[in-house]
Each structure stands twice: as structure tokens, then as C-alpha cells.
């Protein structure tokens, strides 16, 4: 309850949807409106059947044999098989006339509550071209149709890798093209591990932050937060005056207990940190947040339109809103103080930077002062030029500095048809990694 899940299709091209399990309220997935309340208490990574009449998910309870049948389409295919493999697509024209059934017919089949299998069988019977296709092509046709009309849905447990895959599939620029291989390498390059302290500049749905938190807290955090265990810390350093609304979306999706989050995650605005660093002699610590508070409401927790909707409740609403604002501010100050506490010794164990709209160079040269000697850093950039300027700025500060890019491609592995996929990502961005040292 209140937990996040990722819904995905069992068959066909993967479609992902991050959703919160709640008693009321529906989510949209593959154009279907679904209520997730039946998932409460369900096992992660289980397969569910969408009941289209109640719009809820029911545990499919598939046996291994049933699953085998569903997954192994060629098996079903053998029943329909004509053993002539030599057919090719020379007789097939994409004129839209191949299928005798039109959309209304198919919709009515669906509304009659027919299962995907029955629909597909009907489709095959009504297809002019199916018999003209070769074996591979028939198989492909079946797979496509099966995926389209299947009501089987997998309920996955969100983790940083899946979240990356999900956001990336929604459009790489949503996460600044921080491809999974780049994210993965930032984590290893910075030796991210439980018990250590990390600084992160992250403007990508909190993805990098979530990945760090995951490796600090791990499995243990799902049960209890053992008071003796030092998970380490992750300090989110944000560049905007107030954090953007999505700054912790990925962290929330990990379903960690608030007690754990409280212990290992904090945040501070970089300008405040800068101020603190350069005039901390003159100011007591509590005062560090009087300046940049005016733009507080950038955090769009409540949409603005609500104001107009109900005039009667306005004072009440305003008060509530004010309360929330003070609460948020209090949390923020608490987090800032914790961040300063962790940073003030300047012995952080790693620094990870992903910026979207800013040149990382002066951010890096400022933040690297908080990094412990002999500790690693990693900077990601969509283009190589900012990293060259970072590289130059590190002369006399770092060793083992390297700029790399990763060439990464997926493969289609099928019997006698194994090859790289037709489309690949042209670049996953560039990385600068290195180790800070003491040149004295």
C-alpha cells in the first residue's frame, strides 16, 4: 500500500509504467484504465491478468507449463505450421486489405470478453496473407498480435536499473541521455558502497541519487533500519534555487522506509554551500537559509488551478498550504544542516556530477574541495567539450583523469537470425573520471 510498482507487458515490446498502489484512483497502462488495489500484498515479479470488466489485476497463477506455452510462441506455431520454409514476402502487399476483420469487429471481440488467444486465432483465420508468409514471418505475425491483445501484465519491483530503462524508453532526453552504461560506470568509478559519503549533482529525476541510495542502504533497508548500521550518506546538491519537483522521483520509487531515507539522504543548494564556504566565519550556521527563500514555491506540489475551484475553502486551503510550506522549509533546513555537517570536514568519499543546463567546470572545481584526498570523482556530459574544460581545470588537483565514451549495443538473438539490433543509441554521453590528490 502506497508502494510503487512498475507495470510492464509480458509479451511483445516492453512498455513500462511507474505507478503507486492505492485503494482509489486508476492508472493508465497500454490505453487501459486499471485500479491497482488488488495488488496490495501481491508478490513482486508476479504475472497478473487484467480483468477488463472490473479493471483490476488478478494474479494469473500460471503453471510452468502454461507459462511455457505463453512464452514459446513457436510451439503454438507448430500447430499451425506448414513446413514449407521457403515462402518469402514477395506476395505480401501492405495495402491494409490483408485482414478481413476491421477495428470494430476486433473491439467487439474484446468486449465479448474473449481471451487474447481466441482473438488471435480469429485474426489468423481472417488473414489473407498469413498463409503466404514464411515460417519466420508467420511467427513474427503471431508474436505481434499476441502481444497486442494479451491481458497479461507483470508487476515489477522498481530498482535503479529498471527506472533508468523506463525513463530512457520514454525518451533518452528525459534523463539527459544518461544511458544505463554511463550511470553504471559513474557508480563504479566512484567506488559507491555502503558506509561511505557521496556528493551528487543530479538533474535527472533523481536517478543517480536513487542509484547511490540503493547501494548505501541495499536490502536491509526494506525490513528495518537497524540503528547501529552506518549506511553512509548521499548529499544531493541542487543548482536551482529550490529543488525541482522531480528531484527525488526515483528515490521515492525505491519504496525505502522514511527512517532510512532520513538517515542517508540530505540536500543543499549549491549557492548556499558556496556562501557557507566563503563567509562561514561571520555567520552562525542556523542563519544560512535566510537568503534564497523567496522562490520557495517553485516546488509545484499543488497545481495552481486549485485556487479557483473552491472559494469557500480558500482560507482553510491557504492555511493548509502555508502549513505545508513551513513544514517543507523546516525539512529543508534540517537537511541543509545535515549536509553541512557531512561536508564540513571535506573528507567526502566520492563526487558525481550530471548537469543539464550548466557547464560542469566551475561546479566541479568548487565541489572538489569537499572531496577527501585520494578519493574519486565522475562527471557526465552529453557532449565532450565541457569535459575537456573540466579536464584542464583539474591540473594540479587530480590524477588518473580520463575521458571515455561507451559504445553500447543490444543484440537480437534468434535461431539462425542473431545480429545487432537495427537501431542503436548513437551515444550514451561522455564521462570524465579521476582521483583527487594532494600535490604538496
Amino acid at each position: 500500500m502506497g508502494d510503487y510498482v512498475i507495470l510492464t507487458t509480458l509479451l511483445g515490446k516492453k512498455v513500462f509504467r511507474l505507478a503507486k498502489v492505492e485503494e482509489t484512483g486508476d492508472v493508465y497502462f497500454k490505453k487501459e484504465r486499471i485500479n491497482l488495489k488488488t495488488l496490495i500484498g501481491a508478490q513482486y515479479n508476479s504475472i497478473h491478468r487484467l480483468d477488463r470488466s472490473t479493471r483490476t489485476l488478478k494474479h494469473a497463477g500460471l503453471t510452468q507449463e502454461q507459462l511455457r506455452e505463453i512464452l514459446d510462441v513457436s510451439f503454438t506455431f507448430t500447430e499451425l505450421n506448414v513446413d514449407d520454409e521457403s515462402k518469402d514476402n514477395r506476395l505480401i502487399n501492405d495495402d491494409g486489405l490483408a485482414q478481413k476483420l476491421d477495428r470494430d469487429d476486433i473491439e467487439s471481440l474484446k468486449n465479448q470478453g474473449m481471451s487474447g488467444d481466441v482473438i488471435i486465432k480469429t485474426l489468423v483465420e481472417n488473414s489473407n496473407t498469413f498463409k503466404e508468409r514464411n515460417v519466420f514471418s508467420q511467427e513474427k505475425y503471431l508474436k505481434k498480435k499476441q502481444a497486442k491483445y494479451s491481458n497479461l501484465i507483470r508487476v515489477l519491483k522498481p530498482n535503479p536499473t529498471l527506472l533508468t530503462e523506463m525513463y530512457y524508453s520514454q525518451g533518452p532526453m528525459k534523463i539527459n541521455n544518461l544511458r544505463i552504461d554511463s550511470l553504471a560506470q559513474m557508480l563504479t568509478a566512484c567506488n559507491v558502497r555502503s558506509g561511505a559519503k557521496f556528493m551528487v549533482v543530479d538533474t535527472n529525476m533523481g536517478l543517480l541519487t536513487a542509484a547511490i541510495i540503493d547501494r548505501l542502504a541495499g536490502h536491509s533497508s526494506m525490513f528495518t533500519s537497524s540503528a547501529s548500521r552506518d549506511y553512509g550518506e548521499c548529499i544531493q546538491i541542487y543548482l536551482d534555487d529550490a529543488p525541482v519537483s522531480s528531484w527525488r522521483q526515483s528515490v521515492d520509487a525505491l519504496n525505502l522506509s522514511p527512517a532510512v531515507i532520513d538517515r542517508c539522504l540530505s540536500a543543499i543548494n549549491i549557492k548556499k554551500l558556496y556562501k557557507w564556504e566563503f563567509d562561514n566565519d561571520t555567520k552562525p550556521k542556523d542563519e544560512l537559509d535566510t537568503e534564497i527563500e523567496t522562490k520557495e514555491d517553485i516546488t509545484p506540489i499543488e497545481p495552481k488551478e486549485v485556487d479557483e475551484s473552491s472559494n469557500v475553502d480558500e482560507p482553510e486551503y491557504k492555511k493548509q498550504r502555508l502549513d505545508e510550506k513551513t513544514k517543507r522549509k523546516a525539512t529543508r533546513i534540517k537537511e541543509e544542516n545535515r549536509a553541512i555537517d557531512a561536508l564540513k570536514n571535506k573528507d567526502m568519499d566520492g563526487l558525481l556530477i550530471v548537469t543539464r543546463n550548466h557547464d560542469p567546470t566551475n561546479i566541479l572545481t568548487f565541489l572538489i574541495r569537499f572531496l577527501g584526498i585520494a578519493q574519486p570523482f565522475a562527471v557526465f556530459s552529453l557532449s565532450i567539450d565541457p569535459l575537456i574544460s573540466c579536464y584542464q581545470s583539474l591540473k594540479g588537483i587530480a590524477i588518473n583523469s580520463r575521458i571515455t565514451e561507451t559504445w553500447f549495443r543490444n543484440y537480437q538473438v534468434l535461431d539462425s537470425r542473431t545480429r545487432p539490433e537495427m537501431n542503436m543509441s548513437g551515444s550514451g554521453g561522455y564521462l570524465l573520471t579521476g582521483i583527487k590528490v594532494d600535490f604538496q
Binding site: 508478490q43 513482486y44 515479479n45 508476479s46 511455457r68 512464452l71 507483470r154 519491483k157 536499473t161 544505463i180 552504461d181 560506470q185 557508480l187 563504479t188 568509478a189 567506488n191 558502497r193 555502503s194 558506509g195 542509484a211 547501494r215 548505501l216 542502504a217 541495499g218 536490502h219 536491509s220 549506511y231 573528507d347 568519499d349 577527501g372 584526498i373 585520494a374 578519493q375 574519486p376 565532450i384 569535459l387 575537456i388 579536464y391 584542464q392 590524477i399 588518473n400 583523469s401 580520463r402 575521458i403 571515455t404 565514451e405 561507451t406 559504445w407 553500447f408 549495443r409 543490444n410 543484440y411 538473438v413 542473431t418 582521483i435 583527487k436 590528490v437 594532494d438 600535490f439 604538496q440
Partner: protein, 289 residues
Amino acid sequence: MEKGNTVNVNSKKAVISAGDHLFIFISPKQMYPLKVVPKETFQTKFGPIKHNDLIGVKYGTKLNLSKGWVYVLPFTPELWTLNLPHRTQILYSTDISMITCQLNLKPGSVVIESGTGSGSLSHAIIRTIAPDGFLHTFDFHLARANEARKEFDDHGLTSLVRVENRDVCQDGFGLKAIADALFLDLPHPWTAIPFAYEAMKPFGSRICCFSPCIEQVQKTVQALQSMCFMDIGTMELVSRPFETKQMKMEKFCFTETPESESNTTNDVKAVPSIQIAGHTGFLTFATKI
């Protein structure tokens, strides 16, 4: 008692003490692993280092030797991967990063690995699953398994890893439904898939098979399909390093004008390395449900 400043052991350690494992850094291509043993001496091309002189020194310090200087760096799995004694082909950090991510490794994960090989991946796994995870690692080569065990012991990792000499393709893992993640780097990984299935937890545990050749991948994928693994995907990664260097480039002059202001640019450019490692292996991942 904890030995040395090893893979994950607390990072607050800023000063070198006896028993530490560290690296002597001369250049990115010249680093040496070193265990600090009092009274011993380590020879470098810049002159000898007395171990006693290292004790009490801060990590990251520039050490002046008779003919030059070096840096002293703390142990990390990544530096270890670059400098470990090779007993086999090893996995490098680019693949290791992806494996760690795709297998969802984190503190508390129980992981199975075969073969152990030179322990390059093992160290990275242990770093990520510490302090409460565990690695069961298997190698069919007796001497290799023994070497690895000795090394883990020396690195103070015995509470996090167990090495066994066993041919998992023949005899399985002897473990049932305990692994959150399982990794196979074997000549015939497909023969171990049924055993792997048995050793893995239900509902979302992950498997990775590393194979250099596509024929191996083909067979592995079929085996995975036959056991109803989900999310089967094969990928390949190649890290492309760049060399950053000052590059002088002259502006071409069309007319014979006398030397004008500046006809040459002298900027730092990033140039892709000319000769790089082009292929390591294919990574195949899948989920058990």
C-alpha cells in the same frame, strides 16, 4: 579483526598503517599493488620505497623518491582490476559496471559466481554487497580456487566470500533458491543453466552470462528460454578512451601575407585513442520469475 584497508572496509581511513593494501601510482599505465609490511622495501623506477616510510602517511600524498615522485592510493576494486596478477582472462570495469547494475547488486545481496578466475569481478561484487551480503564463488581449477581463497583472506574479505573448487556444469552449485544474482563466465555456460535456475531465488533474481563468442550466446539464450527465464537480453559494451592533448593547428594562408596576428591555434583537444580493446564479450541477462 579486520585486516588492512581493503575492498569495502571503512572508508574513513585517511592514514596508511602496516598491513594496508594500496597502490603506488606512477602514471595511469604504471601502477603497482603493494601490501605494507614493516621493514620491507619496494623498488620503483624512481627509486626504492621503504614500507616503514609509508606508515603514518596520508593517502593521496605525493611521495618524493630519489629519481622522481609517485602517489599512494588506497585500495579500490577498480584499481585492483587494472593491476591484479592475471591467472586467467579477466573482466574489466566497463563490463563489471554493467554486470553490477543489471544484476541489481546492493548491500545484502547473495551472489553466486563461476568461475572465480583471477577474482577481478569478485572484488567488485564484494564491495557492492558488503557489509551484509555474501558471495559464493566456484572454479573448476583447483590451484586457481586456492589462489583466490588466499587472496580474499589476505584482503580481509573472508566474512563476505566463500571459494569452492567445483565444476558447476557437472555438479551444480549445491545451493537452492538462495541467490539474488548469479554470474557465469564459463566455456559452456548453457550446460549450467538448469543448476543456476535451481540456485536462484524465485520472483525476480537475475542471471548474467558472459561469453566472448556469439555461438555461445546463441546456445545460452536457448537454454534460458527453455527454463522460462524472462527479460532475456544480450548486449555488448566497448569503452572508448580519449587522449587529451594540446594540439597545434596552423591556419592555412591563401595569400602570401606577412605574419599576421595569430595563425595557429593551440587548444586542448580530445582525440579518440587509436588502438583500443574492441571486444571483450557479450553479456546476456535474464530474470527468473
